[in-house]
């Protein structure tokens, strides 16, 4: 077995990292924090756009019609026992219930970027509220 080429590949980025100490994994700057927040808020905005969009389902109904400012969605309580489904579910399952029923649309995959954006928006509107998983 010849490991030499692999070692060479591994050593090259290590050498570069040593040459640029600011790239260490355990350090980040104010600029990094700002960029990450911008990334997050960009997805929150995508979520808000979806929340108010008549295009998310098939009948023109938007999430915001029943849930202004995402109120009465309670992301801080999930996962929880959803009595109507008879089991403990994460929030995205309830979002899909709404997509299928009041919006008469198709459910989204759990890792669909739209589902991520919706959850980012809903959670952002509840920022500061104590986490209470399971609460009804």
């Amino acid at each position: 077995m010849n490991l030499k080429p692999i070692k060479a590949i591994l050593l090259l980025p290590l050498a570069l990292a040593l040459a640029t100490p600011t790239a260490s994994a355990d350090e980040f700057t104010d600029a990094d924090l700002e960029r990450w927040q911008q990334q997050f808020m960009g997805v929150v905005q995508q979520g808000r756009d979806l929340w108010t969009s008549p295009e998310l389902g098939t009948n023109g109904v938007a999430c915001a019609q029943c849930h202004p400012n995402a109120a009465n969605t309670h992301p801080e309580t999930y996962p929880k026992f959803q009595k109507q489904l008879g089991k403990v579910v994460p929030m995205w399952e309830m979002i899909n219930w709404c997509l299928k029923n009041p919006l008469e649309g198709q459910p989204l995959a759990a890792d669909d970027p739209k589902m991520t954006a919706i959850q980012a928006y809903v959670t952002h509107e509840r920022r500061g509220v104590t986490l209470e998983p399971g609460k009804h």
Binding site: V61, P68, A71, N72, E125
Partner: protein, 358 residues
């Protein structure tokens, strides 16, 4: 036993026999005064939000709410003298929506008085609505009661006339309840002057019932549970002995007492709204008096819509709510504390878990 109670019991009995008791998403309002021969009832349907999809398709859920209210109002015993529609017949104020709503409403076998909602108004400022339903604000007398209807969902002229590139855009901006580009509702100077003149011809002992779409009190500005010139309207109503304000818009049970004025909201036929305290990021002023309705269960399509009848025996307002999938509620005017109070749940320790909103 007086006539008021007898007629209420007779109504309940009949409603029960027809299996309507817990399913009517309308409001039956009974007004009872010293002369019991003059007692009468009226029904109240509000916030249908008929929503056009395309062609002949409309959102089924909201259609069903209004169709049901109309059908059941026709079955009411005793027969109401007339019906009020409390505004937001349409979702985006289009001819298609207003026509479709008017068609459903045309099945009613009673005279209907309409109140303007923001979803009816901001496309063409009520032009087509006026052709269908008449004036945007008006008053009339009925069996000793002076009824006043206001268009309370107007706003600043600059927002209405100068802000938006198209009427469609203006409608969309106001249709989003939580849209920060919206603008606070108000009655405005024109109607305040008219109201002042209208009320100057009415005896101070005449019971006044004011119908508006938005609350004529300030609860939460972010969702327009709010009327910007509420205090000025309240001041015009202050000289009268008995005043009741009945409003739609909020899609939930609210009640309050400010001086001589009792405030009561009516239910929507379309969908319920959260109480403002469930939005964590803003201050709100839900009247402390209000014991909230139960949290809505979306798996029951018509849950948290409902109906109530109101009797104003002695000119004070008693509300009897019957709510779909919820226990009935009664909010009764307490002559000792001079405010409306829930007869079962008013005390903090009497409330049940579904009434906790967070």
């Amino acid at each position: 036993m007086n006539t008021i109670h007898k007629s209420r019991r007779s109504f309940l009995k009949t409603a029960g026999a027809a299996a309507l008791g817990s399913t009517l998403p309308i409001s039956l309002i009974e007004l009872a005064f010293a002369d019991t021969a003059e007692n009468f009832t009226f029904a109240y349907i509000s916030d249908a939000h008929i929503q056009h999809i395309e062609g002949t398709r409309f959102v089924r859920n909201w259609d069903r709410g209004l169709i049901r209210a109309v059908a059941e109002t026709n079955l009411l015993v005793p027969k109401p003298d007339f019906v009020f529609f409390g505004g937001d017949l349409a979702q985006l104020g289009t001819k298609a929506e207003l026509d479709h709503g008017a068609e459903i409403m045309s099945a009613l076998r009673y005279k209907v008085h309409y109140v303007m909602g923001e979803h009816d108004y901001y496309l063409d400022l009520g032009d087509y609505w006026e052709q269908l339903f008449g004036a945007q604000y008006y008053s009339f007398n009925h069996k000793g009661v002076h009824f006043v209807v206001l268009n309370s969902i107007r706003t600043y002229d600059d927002w209405t006339f100068n802000r938006w590139p198209s009427n469609e855009q203006r409608m969309l901006e106001m249709a989003g309840l939580d849209n920060p580009n919206g603008s606070p509702f108000m009655v405005g100077e024109e109607q305040r002057n008219w109201l002042k003149s209208d009320l100057s011809k009415v005896a101070k002992t005449t019971p006044i019932v004011v119908l508006s779409h938005s609350p004529l009190q300030k609860i939460f500005r972010g969702w327009n549970f709010w009327t910007e010139d509420a205090e000025e309207i309240q001041a015009l109503l202050k000289p009268f002995d008995k005043v009741s304000v009945i409003y739609g818009h909020v899609h939930q049970i609210q009640y309050n007492q400010i001086g001589n004025i009792s405030f009561n909201s009516v239910m929507a036929t379309a969908w319920p709204w959260p109480y403002p305290q469930s939005y964590a990021q803003a201050e709100q002023y839900l009247p402390k008096l209000t014991v909230p309705m139960n949290r809505a269960d979306p798996f029951f399509e018509r849950d948290a819509t409902g109906w109530q009848f109101i009797n104003t025996s002695n000119g004070n307002v008693d509300l009897h709510y019957t709510l779909y999938n919820n226990t009935a509620r009664s909010v009764v005017y307490n002559t000792k504390t001079k405010q409306p109070e829930d007869s079962a749940y008013q005390r903090e320790d009497a409330r049940i878990p579904p009434q906790t909103h967070f």
